[in-house]
Amino acid sequence: MEILLALVLGTFFGVALNRAGATNPNYIINMLRLRDMHLMKAILLAVGVSSLLLFVGLAVGMIPAAHLSVKAAYWGVLLGGALLGVGFALSGYCPGTALAAAATGRRDALLFIVGGLLGAFAYMITYPQMKAAGLLEHLWGGEITLAQNAKYEALLGAWPALAVAGGIAVLLIVIATVLPRYLFRK
């Protein structure tokens, strides 16, 4: 059953990435250099809408809190994000979109994937050093959210979950809507 869901949901995700333009590095690079905010608007809307639905689903008991999967916060998250940002800007690919782009026939994405497999391998080998350097020490208790939920600690746990998550979601949706598609048209 889980495998069937993986097939259906994975296929849906691949279609969504392709139709959104995320498998096209022109769209990624033009977003990052603040020329064409198409993908930025789409991503902000996607996060806002999915977050709103998720927290409504949790509130009415349609979604079990066990389905949540919050990753730990540590300084390596910031540093790793910054490293990923370098490669993201250079190539216009991130791990998911490179795999999807290669499937649409982009040959440069194949090189990204080979480099990526080596990069992941390098991390497997150097993981003990990163751990010893203290980069993986949890911050603020590690697996923590802003909005209250039944599974993880929340920084704003004293407030109603729907007010916190809903407020952030509405803010993201508003930004997605008012952000001009072309910021600096020359």
Binding site: G10, V15, S69
Partner: protein, 192 residues
Amino acid sequence: MNGILTWWKAGMLLGAAFFLTVLLVKPIGVSTQFVIFDAMLWDLVEPSLIVASDTVKSGFDSTNAYLAKSGGKYAAAAANPLNYSFIFVLATMFGAWLSSRLGGDRPDAKERVRPAVWVERFGANSSRSRYVTVFIAGFIVLYGARLAGGCTSGHMMSGMMQTAVSGYLFTLGLLITAVPLAMVLYNKGGNK
């Protein structure tokens, strides 16, 4: 007409993908599967890498500390390729292929080698430099993603959807380097 939806349709479709996965199973993540695939290859060359073990939670242990962490969950996933997350990523590739054949974004012969934005900036004879750059970029991206514990899907999209503090931290790190670098790298030159 390249099959790419307007921003709000694109956002609704992506949002639906992230919502449906957490509704039915768990949030989307991709970069872990690079480790799982590496581990499968490594285990083929060196079968002693991953071994069944009764003493760890997942039932599989590894001589590699990263594969052995968290009760050997990565070791177990590599020992059993037919697991949800690995199949999900393979299906994502299938979905992108299918979409590109059914009116979605499909690169032409030139685009397949390097994107138009690269040619605009570095000229028509830049295919080799594109390949080298993208190879290095892939290395940096996956090293960074594993250090961070997730990538754009797992941290940025799934993380911020759940209001995870780690998701905001990751997105901040990503934007700090990606935006200035893309502006310096691709806005240089006066052909705009």
